[in-house]
């Protein structure tokens, strides 16, 4: 690995903050919608808050090397807190705010956090609940005082008070902190982020200043990010992507981080801010599209015609325009008109009018979904990344975007493929270690710095970009030896607005089967339109007409899967519409909304057996966890539906 020397004065995030204050002091650095109004802070104002809070933390006894857990929704104060912690020489550890108390024990215990900074009462309550199991947590600080008046624990402080206290003692404490910061270097720990734990317990990924700053610098240059970008910070703070976008790149380029008012108002806030640099997992784009399609169905006939007419045209020429190809004058004129009538207003409604660079990652995105956004003229691209890589492994350059690849290696990243197709990478962003877990570190990262991604893929010969097939360990063989790649089929299924989630089984079996989750918004809307009464999610999932529609979807997917001779064996023969949504609270998904295949397979084992056992229905009881942590059981009799499959064409030997 080539160790690059840091730019002077840019070795740590507090350094970058100071640089931004000098360079863009009066420019907005953070905005947050509160009480219905966007409140904003310049770099200079933010720095004052951050320094005062750092002094307050030091006064409470935060010492260099201490880790500080930070839990809450995206708010400027919590982003500031991370930098304040670094100013004291501490290590910020952001946690998933929707984690239940038991999940927190592991992360808090593993990180040995001495301080906890929480967004609100909800988070404090969760920590109180498990306090006896995390004795090393000494001090708790909360940001939003609502509901906190009656809490009188001696180790509980309001953030505002800590800041005020810090400001009062700043002249005395700050020089001490400056001395600590002077000792912090490029290879000291910047942040510790926990993996989502698709397969096991979350591991603490230690990322150094070098990892974060080099990655932020490289990726900002790759996309020509500027100080006048606006981003919306709405993805979990504990996720590495948010740390890179809202902290790393924001500090590196000096752009403005906007925090929504609440999780529910995200779409409205997105529209009001109109970010220029936008990131979302496919799920967000999918929900947006579902919403658009539902609303179009309610529109007048003329509007519907306009929409479908111009969208068809956009589909034809939009992506080619974005890639800078030349198209005929007539097409160009029609696209211009379409932009006037349809695309422009639609982009505005979606809040994507100003997007210069948009990324989707985390999961494969359906080609039609991807094309929809591209055809509107939104520069949506794909990237492939991991916590262990400080996000970026590959990304697509402007003008070279395809839906089935994830891009070329990011600047500074080297790739290699193992025998079994697994992708390995090496880059300046490669993590230092898993915290307190040398075995895992050793099994993931070799002595030369190569890291295993766990994904199988290959370099597409045509475009030179990386193409990911599936999780390396999920790719299997059917009993007849055909390749089994569940993700490939699941992604095709999930592109139907009616299907929210799909899990395909078939490894070592003679045929493939699937679990489906309906999308309540889409199916509920359809039910309303067709006067179909239902009293619960569960009832809707079992409705014969719903099953019919889904069978149609599955059969369509089978046709498209059959077209690829290599994967034709993965057609879904039978499926079940689950009576409950797969949920992170029940452990069926990770907090980043990825299906935990093993858990699902085990939990619904009886249903899978019934599908392969040739039954037509199965009675099952499932344990569910409510949002407040209580557990209950739901019972249901599930219909097992058969879907038509296409004959598998034998690969012709002769040509």
């Amino acid at each position: 690995m080539t160790a690059t020397a840091p730019q002077k004065g840019c070795e740590t995030l507090p350094n970058l903050l100071a640089r931004n204050v000098a360079r863009f002091g009066d420019k907005p650095a953070y905005r947050e919608k509160e009480l219905g109004i966007w409140q904003s802070w310049t770099w200079a104002q933010a720095a004052r808050e951050i320094e005062a809070f750092a002094c307050g933390l030091a006064d409470l006894g935060l010492a260099p090397g201490d880790s500080v857990a930070i839990i809450g929704r995206n708010r400027p104060a919590l982003y500031w807190a991370m930098i304040s912690v670094q100013m004291c020489g501490g290590i910020p550890v952001p946690l998933y705010q929707d984690a239940v108390a038991e999940e927190m024990i592991h992360v808090l215990g593993n990180s040995q956090a001495r301080f906890v900074i929480a967004g609100d009462q909800e988070q404090i309550d969760k920590i109180h609940e498990v306090q006896d199991q995390i004795p090393h947590v000494e001090i708790m600080i909360y940001h939003d005082p609502r509901g906190m008046r009656k809490y009188d624990a001696a180790n509980l402080f309001e953030m505002d008070d800590v800041t005020k206290n810090g400001r009062a003692k700043q002249s005395e404490i700050w020089p001490r902190l400056q001395a600590i910061q002077a000792k912090q270097g490029y290879d000291d720990t910047c942040v510790m982020l926990y993996t989502s734990g698709t397969t096991g317990r979350p591991k603490g990924v230690v990322l150094s200043n070098r990892n974060i700053i080099e990655t932020s610098k490289n990726s900002s240059e790759f996309d020509h990010l500027r100080a006048d970008e606006d981003i919306l910070a709405y993805l979990p703070m504990a996720w590495v992507g948010d740390f890179i976008f809202s902290v790393g790149q924001a500090l590196w380029t000096g752009f403005c981080v906007n925090c929504p008012e609440s999780a529910e108002t995200m779409q409205t806030d997105l529209r009001e801010i109109g970010p220029t640099y936008f990131f979302a997992p496919p799920r967000v784009f999918e929900n947006q599209l579902t919403e658009v399609m539902i609303r179009m169905e309610d529109a007048s006939k003329l509007k519907q015609w306009l929409f479908h007419h111009f969208m068809a045209h956009a589909k034809k020429v939009g992506p080619r325009l974005l890639d800078g190809e030349s198209i005929g004058f007539g097409d160009r004129l029609k696209y211009f008109l379409g932009n006037l009538f349809i695309y422009g207003p639609l982009k505005n409604t979606l809040g994507l009018s100003r997007v210069r660079v948009g990324y989707t990652a985390g999961e494969a995105i359906g080609p039609e979904l991807f094309a929809f956004y591209r055809s509107l003229g939104i520069n949506l691209k794909q990237l492939y990344g991991q916590t262990e890589a400080s996000v970026f492994i590959t990304q697509q350059p402007d003008g070279h975007v395809r839906s089935d690849t994830v891009g070329v290696p990011s600047p500074g990243v080297e790739l290699k493929m193992a025998e079994n197709g697994e992708v390995f990478y090496r880059s300046p962003g490669v993590f230092v270690e898993y915290f307190n877990n040398p075995e895992s570190t050793a099994s993931t990262k070799d002595a030369e710095g190569w890291v295993a991604t766990g994904d199988a893929g290959f370099i597409d010969p045509e475009s030179g970009q990386l193409r990911i097939i599936d999780r390396a360990k999920d790719v299997g063989k059917m009993s007849d030896g055909a390749m089994f790649a569940p993700k490939y089929v699941e992604n095709k299924l999930k592109f139907f607005p009616n299907i929210l989630e799909a899990v395909v089984f078939g490894n070592q079996r003679e045929m493939c089967t699937a679990f489906l989750n309906i999308d309540l918004t889409a199916v509920g809307n359809w039910a309303e339109r067709n006067n179909i009464a239902y009293s619960s999610y569960q009832e809707l999932t079992g409705h014969p007409q719903v099953l019919d529609i889904l069978r149609g979807h599955v059969e369509e997917v089978n046709k498209s899967v059959a077209a690829d001779p290599m994967l034709a064996g993965c057609q879904v023969h039978r499926f079940v519409v689950l009576h409950k949504q797969l949920d992170a609270d029940d452990g069926e998904m990770t907090r980043t909304q990825k299906v935990r295949r093993g858990v699902v397979e085990e939990k619904f084992g009886d249903v899978i057996d019934a599908m392969y056992g040739g039954k037509s229905e199965i009675y099952t009881e499932t344990e569910v966890t409510y949002e407040d942590g209580r557990k209950g059981k739901i019972k249901a009799t599930l219909q097992i539906v058969d879907a038509a499959v296409q004959p598998v064409q034998q690969l012709e030997a002769a040509e």
Binding site: G36, I37, R146, E264, T265
Partner: protein, 272 residues
């Protein structure tokens, strides 16, 4: 006066103060029908007071007397230690009493924000002329009131529907908007007429939380009518039980629960 009026602190740390509203020997008649017969009870500063009883017991009439809508033929209403002369409802509102209605009474065509803003009416002092011209004091007042309203919107977590017309909201949310409008008046005494009627369990839990929080956070005294016994017993500090216009019980939820008259009224009595 029957109650001791020394302030005390509840188990969950709220301070219950002096008697705020005292109803003494109230009788209300509609023609020959006696809707309320000689009822006395009081509401103390900071408490949550429930009025329960079977249908037609006179609970809503009682609330209408407190809000000044009905004038009792006999009896006295004492407010803040002084007898309250017959007042028009808007004058009662000026004293710091706000209410919600059993049948939602919002302005359907207006947005949530505008509806909640109407709750600030008593806090707007600028005259019609200035209001119309958006001049001087009117502008400044609007900004102040908007801020107060936004705090309520934040408190009740209805940011998402801030700009949505009320007619497009589901029932449970309308109820919450009504509560928002009442709270926007910053009342000292809040009257809730069946705040949870027609709600599902989840909505009831939310509403209970908001009622408790409003009481706790703003120190608002609350009098509520409710049919859901579980809710009433969990929320209230004291409960008045009415039946056929008479008071048949008064006390803490536990006392009321053990009261034989109350059990009879709710469960019926065997006649043998």
């Amino acid at each position: 006066m029957k109650d001791t009026v020394e302030p005390y602190v509840t188990d969950d740390g709220r301070t219950i103060g002096d008697v705020m509203l005292d109803l003494r020997n109230i009788t209300l008649r509609f023609g020959g029908v006696e809707a309320i017969k000689d009822i006395s009870f009081d509401i103390r500063e900071g408490e949550i007071r429930a009025i329960i009883g079977p249908n037609g017991a006179g609970k809503s009439s009682m609330l209408n007397i407190i809000s000044g809508f009905y004038k009792p033929q006999e009896g006295e209403v004492w407010f803040d230690g002084a007898i309250r002369p017959p007042l028009r409802p808007y004058q009662v509102a000026q004293q710091g009493i706000a209410r919600t209605f059993q049948n939602i009474a919002l302005f359907e065509g207006m947005s949530v924000l505008d509806n909640v803003m109407t709750g600030r009416l008593n806090h707007m002092k600028a005259g019609l002329f200035r209001q119309a011209l958006w001049y001087g004091r009117a502008e400044q007042e609007e900004v102040e009131n908007r801020e107060a309203v936004e705090k309520i919107i934040d408190f009740l977590e209805i940011q998402k529907i801030r700009k949505t017309p009320v007619s497009r909201l589901p029932y449970g949310l309308k109820k919450r908007v009504e509560l928002a409008r009442a709270l926007a008046a910053q009342p000292r005494l809040l009257l809730l007429d069946e705040p949870m009627a027609g709600m599902n369990v989840e909505e009831k839990e939310d509403m209970s939380r908001f009622i408790l929080d409003a009481n706790d956070e703003f120190g608002t005294t609350i009098a509520l009518i409710e049919h859901d016994m579980g809710v009433v017993m969990d929320l209230s500090d004291r409960v008045v039980v009415m039946d056929y216009g008479r008071k048949i019980g008064d006390g803490t939820p536990d006392e009321v629960r053990g009261n034989q008259d109350v059990i009879d009224a709710y469960l019926g009595v065997s006649h043998d």
